[in-house]
């Protein structure tokens, strides 16, 4: 029957839509459960510090290297354009504003999703696949409080810290290229920056962005791990989804936040 075939298609669409919504619902409930577990984590800082080591300290190296090179490349590229207008003195402004407003938060969010987010998903997913999470529940240990909440809080704390390090190292990288390679005077580099960069409008907005990105990326990462299909294939897919959805969320939110903050 032809009608049956079309009804089948319609059913498929309906099923997919409903399962998407169900996932969003599960994600929100999951976030709520994490929030109720945060008090538990604050009372046991050891759990938090261990996770800060895994998501923060271990991500530090890639953040330092990426920040340094982005700052240096930005200085080189901006110089090529600015020198045509005789405006190479504004190089530091170009570097610092791009880094503080956009590149710092966005790159840190993307790198964090790739480096720490995927690791979080894989770890929690494997715990689920090997039934460690169920085992904990059997022993009356709430995995939400003991496993998920410390990882979530550590991620939310680590991302703004990593962002500030990224920003500082990128500006230092730009400084190195500008003064050593391009022959811009040291005083010009700093004074142009200091005269035009605003603490609240530029630096604080960048930090607010990084806080939002950190929250969303870590939420996606722990949820994908907790919600994964407990097979080796499902685990792989969940890890991929963390990186893809996390990065897309960062980029999409960045547009919205920029439009709100800098009233374009």
């Amino acid at each position: 029957m032809i009608a049956d075939k079309y009804l089948g298609k319609l059913q498929q669409i309906g099923f997919k839509t409903l399962s998407r919504f169900a996932r969003v619902g599960r994600g929100s409930l999951f976030l709520w459960q994490i929030m109720t577990g945060l008090l538990y984590v604050i009372q046991r800082p050891k759990l938090l510090i261990r996770q800060l080591y895994y998501v923060g300290v271990q991500t530090l190296l890639i953040i330092l290297v990426a920040g340094l090179f982005i700052g240096m490349v930005l200085a080189l590229q901006s110089y090529i354009v600015l020198v045509d207008f005789g405006a190479e003195d504004s190089l530091s402004l170009m570097v610092s504003l791009s880094v503080l407003r956009e590149l710092g938060p966005v790159f840190t969010g993307l790198l964090f999703a790739g480096r720490a987010g995927s690791a979080l998903t894989a770890e929690i997913g494997l715990m689920k696949s090997t039934e460690q999470l169920s085992g904990m529940e059997m022993m009356a240990v709430n995995p939400m409080k003991y496993i998920i909440a410390p990882r979530f809080l550590a991620g939310v704390i680590a991302v703004p810290l990593l962002t500030s390090i990224f920003m500082a190292i990128a500006i230092l990288g730009g400084y190195f290229v500008a003064t050593e390679m391009l022959g811009i005077y040291e005083g010009v580099y700093w004074s142009q920056m200091q005269a035009n960069v605003d603490f609240y409008a530029d630096l604080m907005n960048g930090m607010i962005k990084s806080l939002v990105f950190g929250f969303v990326v870590v939420w996606i990462a722990v949820f994908e791990g907790y919600d994964c299909v407990p097979t080796s294939e499902g685990l792989g897919q969940a890890t991929t989804r963390t990186v893809v959805h996390g990065s897309l969320a960062v980029l999409g939110l960045d547009f919205i936040l920029t439009a709100l903050m800098f009233n374009v």
Binding site: L60, L161, I165, I169, F199
Partner: protein, 153 residues
């Protein structure tokens, strides 16, 4: 890895982040330190047109930066722009100093240049600069030029 080493590394990480944050606030965005704030005095100047002047734009005398613009408002009685200049206390200027709005380079940012006069009295907190010169508006100059050309013909 034992707990102690992990704690040391996390401590180092947090300290590094704090150093980065302090550097960003002080060295990059020049968040005013309280010491400097007391070392300034404010004077006002009225301009017919301030062009693209903004708050935090520099004030310079003889090319040296001596202060910044702390506020810009509009006087609705005399229809002039009122600019408040924040000048560092170690720089003193005579009361007949003139202020003009200049542009750094052809398309650069605008700033206020002070030209000291010869009076023996000095400007103090709350003082006012009487002799001012407005910003050069490129469109007006071009307009005048075209107008004078068409008059000639």
């Amino acid at each position: 890895m034992n707990t102690r080493n992990i704690e040391i590394l996390v401590g180092g990480f947090v300290v590094l982040a704090v150093i980065a944050m302090v550097m960003l606030s002080l060295k990059v965005s020049n968040l005013v330190s309280y010491g400097d704030e007391n070392d300034v005095y404010e004077i006002q100047a009225q301009f017919e047109n301030i062009g693209g002047l903004k708050e935090r734009s520099p004030v310079s005398a003889g090319g040296v930066r001596v202060g910044k613009i702390s506020a810009i408002s509009y006087n609705n009685k005399e229809f002039t722009a009122v600019v408040t200049l924040q000048i560092e206390s170690r720089y003193q200027f005579p009361v007949d100093t003139s202020a003009s709005i200049l542009t750094a380079g052809l398309l650069g940012e605008q700033y206020i240049g002070l030209e000291p006069g010869g009076d023996e009295e000095y400007l103090v907190e709350g003082g006012e600069i009487d002799i001012t010169q407005s910003a050069m508006i490129l469109e007006q100059i071009i307009g005048q030029f075209i107008y004078s050309k068409s008059q000639e013909e």
